[in-house]
Amino acid sequence: MYHSWWFRFLLLLLTTNIIVCSIDRLSATWKIIFVKIPPFNISRFRNLSNKEEFKDNRSPEILKKIYEPFISKSFSYIKSEQTDKGFYIFAEKRRWTRLGVYTIHLSIVLMLLGGLIGSIFGFEGFVNIPEGEKKESIQIRNTNKIHKLDFEIRCDDFNLSFYDSGAPKEYRSSLTILENGKPVVQKDIIVNDPLHYKGINLFQSSYGVLPSKEFVINFMSKESGMNYKKKAMIGQEMKIPEDMGTFVIKDYMNSYNFMGHNIGETLIGILTPNNIDPAKIILPLRYPNFDKMRKGNFAISVADYKPRYYTGLQVTKDPGVWVVYSGFIMIIIGCFIAFFMSHQRLFIEVERGGKKCKVMVAGTSNKNKLRMKDNLKEIAKNLAGLT
């Protein structure tokens, strides 16, 4: 799906949509955000319902000297002016947080773009490598295309281990990267710990068992009770001890169905006793006593074999991944700015009225208005307590 033209087209369409929408809005917002002298409207602040009021005995001149340094501690921009009856202070901070949403939208654009880059310039494939062998071509997923790498991958060893419960514990492949036949990198990979080489990533993703080529077959004679162990290769006829005829392994099967049960990996052999018709022999690797059921002159079993594994590697290349990751980081930062930081404006007006001064603290915030209400209370309380 990633690589189909309509998916790319959809990504492109979505990207364009967000960009156009955001630029359209941003061009308006930009002028508001980047101003040297933030404009403000006194009567608007005076009419706010969100305000705190208290009285103070001191004169406006003294209050102004105390308030200004206090407010400039927590607000980045501060401006004060005399009025007929006293003064006012206008302060604001975090105007730039209005850009938070654009950060988010830009991060989404980055993710989509990264996806597009990966879909055009990357690939996702797999390769199965038997232990001891090397491969330099991989199969692209969901197509029949073969992709040739410019290096070889050799699987030196594959190991798997299990917990006592039988659940898988670890799949481990020892891989060597070869350039022109010379080893350049060696690494054991496990799930969650891949090998990166030249922008191509090799992930442990599956494994399988290959028919082993050599077996040790045990013949137990019923007459003498003797056990004879003999090496056997698939397809190679062998003589049975005590001159009982010949035996040959015809086939190895990964699973075998016996009377409705899957008895797992099984060897199929042909037994040719002297002067009697050949018979098919079933030798499941997991059940060494299976052949005793036949009640023949001797029971045959598989005494030893070394399974040969192949490792299944997921092979990917995605040059867009860092673009996507920077989108990830940006969206987290953007969400934080957009949700938890706000552009706050504060307006403090002090008016002489009789013996005491009337102090009014009002303010706005572009987000989280309830929190701003608490902030104003806090600021008013602090101002009243300042000396």
Partner: protein
């Protein structure tokens, strides 16, 4: 006493706390409410101890890992987070009726974990795909997000009850927080949950990339988490762009939580890499 027993007991403590919150709300008695708070705190302590004990027990078994690896463990962490966030809200807003609508969710989560015969409470070793530090980051952030959405759901539900007050004068709604406070609280929880869900999806993507070489694979859980994310993104846009408030936001928040539940439980019925919960 092992962690499973302790967590079963905690289930009943949460059940009692939920009952007390509801009792205190319906009968307008403050005393059971105060008792409810202490019961919830006791439950939280038991829940915390259960999580730590389970962690330690896994080391005794020689398969030490953080208790965040299967459905049982995720539910335990989920109820822990719900109660914790709720208690913070209770302290900040000094209103216990919210507890009547949120603590039952934590109780249900833990009861489902402890009592359902389908959920295995044994400590299992980690399969190879789960052996990653991203597991911890991913599960914690996702479930903190889910917990915030659960609480937003409870509060949205309260909002819908409260705003019907005009039509049906109900005495039970007397001590509810004001509708605009409920609306604001819903929004805050959604925003908080949205941030964590975003980080949860991102850590999941980074993890998938380090384990399988792709950050996104349209696995059912991935797809549904994206759908959930879009529902809440829609809610936020509706509020910020269209100025939606109150009822419509409450409905969207309930829709979002339905999507969360489906992402959490429903998707487990479908095949995929996340079948462990």
């Amino acid at each position: 006493m092992n962690s499973s027993n302790l967590l079963s007991i905690t289930t009943f403590v949460y059940g009692l706390a939920a009952f007390l919150y509801i009792f205190s709300w319906i009968f307008k008695k403050p005393a059971p409410g105060i008792l409810a708070t202490w019961t919830a705190i006791l439950g939280l302590a038991g829940n915390t101890a259960g999580i730590i004990m389970r962690w330690v027990e896994s080391y005794w078994l020689g398969i030490g890992h953080a208790p965040l690896s299967n459905l049982y463990e995720s539910l335990i962490f989920y109820s822990w987070t719900i109660i914790l966030i709720y208690l913070v809200i209770e302290k900040r807003y000094k209103n216990r009726i919210i507890g009547a609508f949120t603590t039952p969710l934590a109780f249900l989560a833990l009861a489902y974990a402890s009592l359902s015969p389908n959920i295995d409470d044994r400590i299992q070793p980690l399969i190879p795909a789960l052996k990653s530090n991203w597991l911890i980051a991913h599960v914690i952030t996702c479930f903190v997000g889910y917990a915030a959405f659960a609480i937003a759901f409870g509060i949205s539900f309260m909002y819908l009850l409260k705003q019907r007050e005009n039509e049906h004068k109900g005495l039970l709604l007397d001590h509810f927080p004001e509708p605009n406070v409920l609306d604001e609280l819903t929004h805050q929880m959604v925003v908080f949950g949205f941030l964590f869900l975003s980080i949860g999806i991102i850590t999941g993507a980074v993890w998938a990339n380090s384990a399988w070489g792709r950050y996104w694979g349209w696995d059912p859980k991935e797809t549904w988490s994206l759908i959930t994310w879009f529902v809440y993104a829609t809610l936020l846009h509706a509020r910020m762009m269209r100025g939606w408030h109150g009822k419509r936001i409450a409905y969207l928040s309930i829709a979002g939580f339905t999507a969360v539940l489906f992402t959490y439980f429903g998707v487990n019925l479908l095949p995929g890499l996340h079948s462990y919960g």
